[in-house]
Symmetry: C2
Subunit: 144 residues, 2 copies
């Protein structure tokens, strides 16, 4: 895959060694519509006939998160952590409480607010987690 060289560069810039597994995981997260759990990443790899250990997946996701190549999310109602690549476009998710569908939202209403909060609290704000939940149109109809 041509774009794997990009992942290689990202790894290099974060002073991480370039391994096939890391590129594959970055690739998977990069091409996923919605954030994935460690188990889901592992499953995708297995489906692609890539042999890897689940604990390695966890370790890779951990180090990628640390280096900010990946974000770790905790979405409401889901007890496991989800991961997404750290796109330049910051996004949030709208989660359906019925069917658990996850809809990405590209607009973030919080940047102004964060600046304000920084002044008020003297925190050095690094980021935020926001997910919004409700019923998607389909699930609203099912209830009727």
């Amino acid at each position: 895959m041509e774009r794997n060289s990009t992942y290689k560069d990202s790894l290099k810039q974060s002073s991480l060694k370039n391994t096939k597994h890391r590129c594959e995981i970055l690739n998977i997260l990069d091409h996923s519509e919605s954030p994935l759990s460690a188990g889901e990443v592992y499953k995708k790899l297995s489906d692609m006939n890539i042999k890897i250990n689940l604990s390695t997946v966890y370790r890779i996701l951990e180090v990628l998160t640390e280096k900010k190549l990946v974000n770790r999310l905790n979405i409401v109602g889901d007890k496991k952590a989800l991961y997404e690549t750290n796109k330049t476009t910051h996004r949030h998710y709208l989660v359906c409480t019925g069917c658990k569908m996850i809809l990405p939202i590209n607009y973030c209403p919080l940047s102004l607010y964060e600046a304000e909060l920084e002044k008020k609290t003297n925190f050095k704000i690094e980021g935020h987690n926001l997910d919004i939940y409700g019923l998607c149109p389909d699930c609203q109809n099912k209830i009727l």
Copy 2:
């Protein structure tokens, strides 16, 4: 404690049986500065010499969440769920990535945004999870 009658009423209104354990848990969450995990609630009860099983704590928190007497939160970087009583004043938390301190914030910048999003997506929005993270003043100094 005089206010336990209030908890009793809340339980009644949610058609839950009034038990000592439930009132005690509501009481603990109500008087906690920051949200607590199931384990922490359990520990507080034990410290008060109240004998209860951890699984009962989980079951109570579950049913209280279901009845909206309590909110379940998933705060960034914490793999376990945290619970808070559902105060009339909706709040968020500012979490220090250094010392893990949790600072409640009473203002919510999202209500207007939610209305807008509801129109745009046709979701029936029920709520959101927001927590903001960064370094508190103390931890900023420690780094220098």
